[in-house]
Amino acid sequence: MPSSRTLKLAAIGTAAGLFSGLFGVGGGTVIVPLLIFWLAYGERLATGTSLAAIVLIGLLGAIAQGGIYGNVHVGTGLLLSIPAIAGVVLGTAIQQRIPQRAVSLLFAALLIGVAVELIVR
């Protein structure tokens, strides 16, 4: 039998995939709070681990959409990734300098935005 820790991680992976399949909302919305609630992760460790999991999830999706359906505009995507990379480097640097509970509150604000977007859709 796999350990309960492994089962929780498996459930988080499946739930993250489920919600991206259903709503196109990225897995991070699900991964970060579940790592905090179920595995007692601190906010910084939860967000770092979530980003690494998203690399795999996004890669599978991008390969399917790009390789099979030809819907990925590679040039535009890479060009627009430049400011996005600047943002993520800045964001992770800022995150190291604010209290972990502030990360939780920012995340809650993001979730409220996602809920509003789903309701008014």
Binding site: V55, N71, L80, S104
Partner: protein, 125 residues
């Protein structure tokens, strides 16, 4: 020109959100690509996936340098997610979309409430 500039600013904000709270940033990348750069919804969502991979990769590398990454757990979550994607796509075709959106909105609000409750009951670190 204004459209391109706005797309760049929104992409920057998407990356910033990704770094701060550990999400991919697709919520912002998709409108930047569709509204301001003229891609269709499907093309925007697909291209956003490519951007998410790039941003998450750089963000994960930065967090790893800061000591905030459990690679083994991340690999397990990532590897098992395709099962969920398949189930999600199947479910989306069986259950009315509106009911799904509203129930997910409710779940998301519940998670937000729990995060706020815990954050406010913690002692600052």
């Amino acid at each position: 020109m204004i459209d391109e500039l706005l797309a760049v600013l929104i992409a920057l904000a998407g990356g910033l959100a990704g770094g701060l709270v550990g999400v991919g940033g697709g919520v912002l990348f998709v409108p930047a690509l569709t509204i301001f750069l003229g891609l269709t919804q499907v093309e925007g969502e697909s291209t956003s996936l490519l951007m998410i991979v790039v941003v998450a990769l750089v963000g994960a590398a930065r967090q790893n340098a800061y000591g905030n990454l459990n690679l083994r757990d991340a690999a397990l979550i990532g590897v098992l997610s395709p099962l969920g994607v398949l189930a999600g796509v199947a479910a989306a075709n069986e259950i009315p979309q509106r009911a799904l959106e509203l129930s997910f909105a409710g779940l998301v609000l519940l998670i937000a409430y729990e995060l706020i409750r815990r954050a406010l009951s913690q002692t600052p670190d």
